[in-house]
Symmetry: D2
Subunit: 362 residues, 4 copies
């Protein structure tokens, strides 16, 4: 349970890290949307392992295949099934993880909850599950772009204490993709890369913050109370592995301001109601106000490190887990397309919810 | 739409700030739970206006009434309807808000989305809506306490830059309730109170952070992927008016650590698997690990201030909104029972989901 | 659990037969719909007890009160809470039912499932619960009528073996309301009335069939597979107390025809695709085709009879339950507005779902 | 939208008749359930085309493949993805259906709703979609059998006017499978077969009724009001292509009885509360009472016939559709495993819902 996201644009991901395949089913995508497999693949390629020296070297091509819901390049309004076969899943030796709980992973909690787990590489808790999200997110992005010209763009804002200066209103995809660390501040990006390389050498790992912006968001997305856009956005981000914090607009910093400093004053911008500042991050009363949506997702340092760690096994014995195999010294660069995908899923969902709820009754 | 929270313990709140009543319907509460109206009222009293000089002086007794679902003091397993009549809703003059959008409130977005709004005091976007949550949260707390001895306790961690030192593992309700600001660090509490009083005099407002802990949480609550406990907790917090950020466990600070510093090492504590540190905040892989759940909700400074502010009206004219009437210079103290209620709702929901999903199949 | 109906137009009913009140919360009703309390009351009056000699004589005025969601006579887009206070609930003596299971009622199954029940008059399983449905249904009807001119009309088609001849395409409300039995075939209605009066004298009860038609239904309501319009309609009908069967279009009779007899041939009716026959009952492939939706709900004879019946008590003792108190010798006339309400709820729900799912993507 | 069934045991089917594959994702299946692919295949084989001369001759092996959620033969508690590749989908010529609406099929309504359809063989509205249901139903049956010994068995009760005499309490699978028509009354089965063969020769088709029984059902499945077991069962049946009617227990016939004839009297059967008759069909007040659940699904005659039929094309021209290709003169025999699957899905869903809702609170 818990594998479905969204109410009107509904995505169910499936698959374990070391099963046959992973993927997603989308239910609720409107019909007659043009689907280009290459666009889906482009996002998957930004997520996949082995794309640069900064990421894990698991060898996966992550080629998406659409099994249903698309006909002659157009969506049918029926479920869209997208699958990616696991290729590098079989050869490795996970035997040392069969009975041992890796610290700050889900091994223990899965075992305690279900009484069973796929101990080969993280199973369902693996970041590999996010393939389905990125694929579905690409469809959501296409819907948003086609219907409203909405643009979603994420980037690495901070790695450990290294924080880039980025203007969310103007940053472009080329700026983000200019370096493998996906921080569009070139000077800081260079230091980030060096830090991550050093962490790899140290067998250690780093955390940080991804920031993401959505532009051209229509006014009116989001619903009162529990369906607030912020609420769904926060859930979307915290559903990403390793995410431990969420901020929208001024976020934590804004809590240190006074109301007179923080309030976003309205003005009339050639007939359009706008705000002079955007401390609200594009959402007021839980509903988008047409300003750019800006939010941040905080990621803890990767739990897998190449060091010995004290832990227990599934019999309760205290043991030492040796660091071995591949690891991602910093998930931030690969998290960018995942964060974008989750933002796109929320917006696509609320775009369709909005259509259903606020039609003319007269 | 969007007024229901939870899947197994489902709460729907209803009511506008200046309608006849507000309240909640709970569907899914198990049968034969003892319900004491006084326990519900106790939580409502901690939330209600006018309880101290720090809060707004709207005169509401906020007396709860149970209209269904309870029989001879026990739940029936049928929907529990709890209503609170609005009493101080009628007399005031809101005429100046009929056509004017208050900055950083939901007036504009509601009007843009729905083409109509109850302009008397915030309507559905008012914090008054949270009465239903607190009432339902009291039932959830009772369920958690009865079934598992779970204890939920929140407190004000920070007001503006004033941060209290609090140990979430040991803080007690009496510590929290010792001052009207609900910060259990007495020295800091005194300064907070003075700051809030000053903000009131200045016609301004302050934000801050509420921290909340759940103790005795069973292992295994939460579901993979989108049903992660953190995801639902984040959604719960961001659904509270004025909340703009969420952290669990080490949160933002943890992103500055390395993996070797941050990982929570397992050990065997007399037969129970425990972690030496709790940077995970009691949740790993989206599932509770039995450690205390510790999270923080960040609140922006109250949008209503007693100062003139530039804004626009519903015809797009740029106008000045005068500060007048009552205001809450800092919502943090009253937010504490709301944060507790939302945490309790998430845990109660997942407790029941867990029962349904992980029964013995043999 | 299980007290909410619909996905886009969501209705949650609450209340026990002998609690303080019963009612419904509607979430998802679009904004700016004109609500006239008198229209809601008109439907409630057709459902309430004591309206004629054919029905039970419980003295309830069943006056609806709207507690939220409506402002200046228009819906706000927020939850609409409608409550009806129970008035005749207190005086009667139900003591003989405290421990005894009435045959073919829900007493035993509720007790077995929940370990508790409100034994005063049926509790949640009472037909009194349907007040909330009829009130919500009135709002749904208003939406359907305002948005699309959809008209919903039900009538008693059969009582026991007495079947009226009615043309669903032309029957009018006045025909239905011409007699207290609500069968628009006057000759048959007279015999039905006599039969029901005789059943009352015999202390016995009768069952039968309600037929309902929806006219001016837009093409395209309903969703593939599990969201088929027929599936939701069937669930809606079978959720009504005492309903044990459902047919749409040709229903059971159609299963005796051949395909060449049964198929509805398409033709072009001045530019509109129509079918020459309507064996499909207005739904093909689960989606409305613009023809009238015609369906039937089958009701067993009322379980409460004024005769002695063998049964068991909650200790397993075999006892005799004496017939006493009030009873409805035939629920069919009062079931008509309930059937109409459920049909309206399904159509309103799918009308909004349709808007959300099939917008233009270009 | 509308492609997911169930709340606790959730099944989403996907795939079009002539796409790459069809299948289902199950979310919510408890962990550690033994899955035997051969058991899934056995049910699929009873559903697949070409199994006898009575059914369509489309050549499909319908081999199921499990892509996720099962590890070492046990469920993980994660989504179970089952796929079946379409093999005979490509070669045929459907060009004559590209622009023409087949009578009493979903061609017109899909086109009207979505503005697009997969016109190759019915697309999503094809009975081929039910492969996913049968595969998921096999998992549900395994859960029911393992957890509670529940047994589900369906059979053809009636073809056109030919009705078999069958005792639902004692009929066995071997009786059902003794003939290709799956009617366990051998004499009637022979006449049914002859009738179906004649219908094939005539290029025509027949409808009828499938009856299904569930034995060893625990007391307490089902929820009040909209979650009534009958409501979900009715929705389940009416979601099957060509189903136009539903009865539970005495059904339509029961509406002709009096209450004193129809009521199921309770008695004490060696400590267990039972009813002397089972007109309720095993469900009272929407909740299972422990008696066998007996219900019937009514199927119209197959819409595809080998005769010329008047219709219109997608430009509104009145045209003649020629009968050609393969057809199923009677879907009843193949509908049996589908009906069983849907019943199993409802029961599995409510079994898990029951666990979640009615745990001990003390």
């Amino acid at each position: 349970m818990g594998n479905t996201f969204g109410r009107a644009f509904r995505v169910t991901t499936w698959g374990e890290s070391h099963g046959d395949a992973v993927g997603a089913v989308i239910d609720g995508c409107p019909p007659r949307l043009t689907i280009d497999l290459a666009e889906i693949q482009r996002d998957l390629d930004r997520r996949r392992p082995g794309q640069s020296s900064l990421t894990t070297q698991r060898g996966e091509a992550d080629q998406a295949q659409i099994l249903s819901g698309v006909f002659d390049g157009l969506t049918l309004g029926t479920p869209i099934m997208i699958a990616v076969w696991n290729e590098d899943a079989r050869g490795r030796d996970y035997e040392h993880l069969r009975h041992t709980y890796r610290p700050s992973h889900g091994d223990y909690t899965y075992q305690a909850k279900y009484g069973i787990r796929n101990w080969k590489g993280g199973g369902r808790a693996s970041a590999r599950e996010t393939i389905g999200r990125v694929a579905a997110g690409a469809v959501a992005r296409k819907l948003l772009e086609t219907a409203n010209g909405v643009e979603v763009l994420g980037y690495v804002k901070r790695v450990a204490d290294l924080e880039g200066q980025v203007d969310p209103d103007t940053v472009a995809l080329a700026d983000v993709e200019a370096t493998p660390v996906r921080c569009p501040d070139p000077a800081v990006a260079a230091v980030m890369i060096a830090s991550i390389e050093q962490a790899r050498k140290d067998g250690d790992s780093l955390g940080g913050v991804v920031e993401v912006v959505a532009r051209n968001v229509p006014v009116g997305l989001g619903e009162p109370v529990f369906g607030k856009l912020e609420a769904d956005l926060a859930a979307a981000m915290l559903s990403i592995p390793a995410c431990k914090g969420f901020e929208i607009g001024s976020g934590l910093a804004g809590t240190r301001q006074t109301g007179s400093e923080h309030n976003d004053l309205f003005y009339n911008d050639a007939g359009r109601v706008r705000t002079r500042t955007n401390n609200s991050g594009g959402v007021q009363g839980g509903i988008s106000n047409g300003e750019n949506i800006v939010l941040r997702a905080a990621f803890k340092p990767t739990a897998t490190i190449m060091r010995d760690q004290a832990t227990v096994d599934d019999q309760g014995n205290e043991v030492v887990l040796q660091g071995r195999g591949r690891h991602d010294p910093c998930v931030l660069p690969r998290a960018v397309p995942i964060v974008e995908a989750m933002l796109a899923l929320v917006l696509a969902d609320h775009l369709l919810r909005q259509r259903g709820q606020v039609g003319d009754t007269g």
